[in-house]
């Protein structure tokens, strides 16, 4: 099985819209949404959820108020200011601030603090009109480490094997931090979707450094290229220097927004030059995979 990961560096470049097109054009593929912070691919693919699984990471402290004497030793030792005093003089953990270090559990003289596993989200296995899909949702205020990304990729790969799929298409996370690294290690091919802006160029360079570091071949697409043709040319030059082939330019086109509003991928929404262009880009991606 081959695995394509679509990433962007900065957000808002059209990564998910393009991933949606790839999903529609691919044959015998499985899809994964690893953009767990802003998981939007499901809005184009309308997955029907087959199974849900809790996503658990680390622990959180919970004070049993009945057993708490309000001595404040936990508050004094908490380095994250995560313990508040209630109006009844009891201690209470603020789950938004708690990092799950267990220090309060250790120092509480009454042993009044529980330390249950921390439920931080859910992941799903679903059916879509373009094939099976694995996706996830992270709870509010949870640390977005690479872990949920790793889980989604691993489960998608396992399903791919089980269902005899040849290709896994991953909508990757934005940024250049841990979640991105977790999404690209061991992939067959990276497709970087960028835009011709200063931050678009900056982030593409950093993403390509990561690709090089992990020896994953990369291709670059410049979306909305006509907003700044000179910057587009610069980005394409930079991408070559960074070891990645620029394989296409996509002009600014409101059709992407219209397709999104209609809950469809662009290639389902319309026809003509803009779609031909995407198909050509997809064919280049497939050739590179072989």
């Amino acid at each position: 099985m081959k695995e394509i990961v679509v990433i962007s560096g900065k957000g808002g470049t059209g990564k998910t819209s393009i991933t949606g097109c790839f999903a529609a054009l691919a044959e015998n593929a499985i899809l994964a949404d690893c953009d767990v912070d802003a998981a939007d691919l499901h809005m184009l693919l309308a997955p029907e959820i087959i199974s849900r699984t809790d996503f658990i990471s680390g622990h959180e402290a919970v004070i049993r108020e009945d057993d708490c004497t309000g001595c404040g030793i936990c508050r004094k030792n908490c380095k994250f200011d995560a313990i508040d005093l209630t109006s009844e003089g009891k201690c209470r953990v603020n789950p938004f601030s708690c990092e799950g270090c267990m220090v309060c559990v250790e120092v509480c003289p009454e042993k009044a603090i529980d330390f249950p596993p921390n439920l931080c989200g859910e992941w799903y296995f679903s059916h879509t009109r373009f094939g099976p899909m694995v996706h996830a949702r992270l709870g509010i205020a949870q640390e977005n480490s690479g872990k949920l990304v790793s889980t989604v990729r691993r489960e998608a790969a396992a399903k791919a094997e089980e269902l005899k799929k040849d290709l896994l298409i991953v909508d990757g996370p934005p940024g250049i931090g841990c979640p991105v690294i977790a999404s690209i290690t061991g992939a067959s091919l990276l497709v970087v979707v960028t835009e011709p802006t200063i931050s678009g160029k900056h982030d593409m360079k950093r993403v390509l450094q990561l690709a090089k570091h992990f020896s994953v071949p990369a291709l670059v697409i410049v979306n909305k290229w006509d907003i700044n043709p000179e910057m587009t040319a610069e980005i394409e030059k930079e991408s070559l220097l960074g070891g990645a082939h620029p394989i296409g330019r996509i002009p600014y086109d409101r059709a992407f927004t219209v397709a999104q509003i209609n809950g469809r991928t662009l290639v389902e929404e319309t026809t003509g030059a803009v779609v031909e262009n995407i198909i050509t880009i997809w064919e280049k991606v497939c050739r590179k995979l072989k």
Binding site: F80, A141, C178, K224, I227, M231
Partner: protein, 282 residues
């Protein structure tokens, strides 16, 4: 007045809005860039930096003379930052959350602390000195954004106007960034993606009990889903920014919203006062 500018997803124009508020104001203002993984307010504000400071966090140092290799510290550490294989523990500073637990459980008093650098803070002045800029930047490969954000926040004055550029999303660095602000502006796009991510952001600020309003960027480019949602949920739409190709081009070159769409200046100048009045009324 501390205004946090946040968004459910990246690329909606969060930095554009934060910079426009700072640049449209006529009084002194503090611009705090808490998007420490990709701080790019400076691309637009172009501050003169006068000081750069390292962000240090405490990590354990093992006194091997005193250490009995009991392994209690490594078993206690929830972050796997200490590893003991029947030896004095190996310390992995970049995994350490500085909770202090290892020193508490160590029976031999063998653990002390030293500062470990995880990022930097830069201080600068923009717009002829009127705009103070504090920017946090996480080291490449660094994973602990909150301590860097806390350092940025320590430079935000209690009085006067401050604009806080938050990281995108709803995960814990965002909560760290918007905590203690007086008001939150959520920037979104009028698309299904924008609406979906806005709903998560609204859920987050409501959970935190913070007053907030929405800014719709490129409002004439999509559908009415975001406006309908704000109407149903009784959420104030602070400002709607039109889509202009000229703006996209200006932005791509590092120009601000006020350069691209000059008539927005008056509107952005009024935002802090509108917010102030709104808070007073409540």
């Amino acid at each position: 007045m501390r205004i946090a500018v946040a968004s459910g997803k990246g690329g909606t124009g969060k930095t554009t809005v934060a910079v426009a508020i700072a640049m449209a104001a006529t009084e002194p203002v503090m611009y705090a860039d808490c998007d420490v993984e990709e701080p790019n307010g400076s691309i637009f504000l172009k501050p003169e930096v006068y000081e750069i400071k390292k962000v240090l966090v405490d990590v354990p140092v093992i006194d091997e003379e005193k250490c009995t290799s009991c392994g209690k510290c490594a078993r206690f550490c929830q972050f796997n930052a200490l590893v003991s294989l029947g030896t004095p523990p190996l310390v992995f500073p970049e995994l350490c959350h500085s909770c202090g637990g290892c020193a508490i459980v160590c029976p031999a008093d063998a653990i002390s602390w030293k500062g470990n650098s995880i990022g930097e803070i830069s201080l600068g002045k923009a717009d002829g000195g009127r705009v103070s800029v504090v920017q946090g930047k996480l080291d490449v490969g660094g994973v602990l954004a909150p301590p860097v954000i806390r350092q940025v926040k320590s430079h935000i004055p209690h009085d006067g106007l401050s604009v806080i550029d938050c990281p995108p999303g709803t995960s814990c660095p965002v909560i760290e960034s918007i905590g203690e602000a007086d008001y939150v502006l959520l920037v979104t796009e009028p698309t299904p993606f924008g609406l979906h991510d806005l709903k998560l952001a609204v859920e987050t600020v409501r959970e935190l009990g913070m007053p907030f309003a929405v800014v719709i960027n490129r409002f004439d480019e999509g559908d009415l889903g975001v406006e309908d949602y704000c109407g149903e949920e009784n959420i104030l739409i602070m400002v709607k920014i039109p889509h202009r190709r000229a703006m996209a081009e200006t932005y791509s070159r590092g120009g601000t919203l006020l350069d691209g769409i000059p008539e927005m200046r008056e509107i952005f100048k009024d935002i802090p006062r509108i917010i102030e009045r709104g808070i007073e009324e409540k």
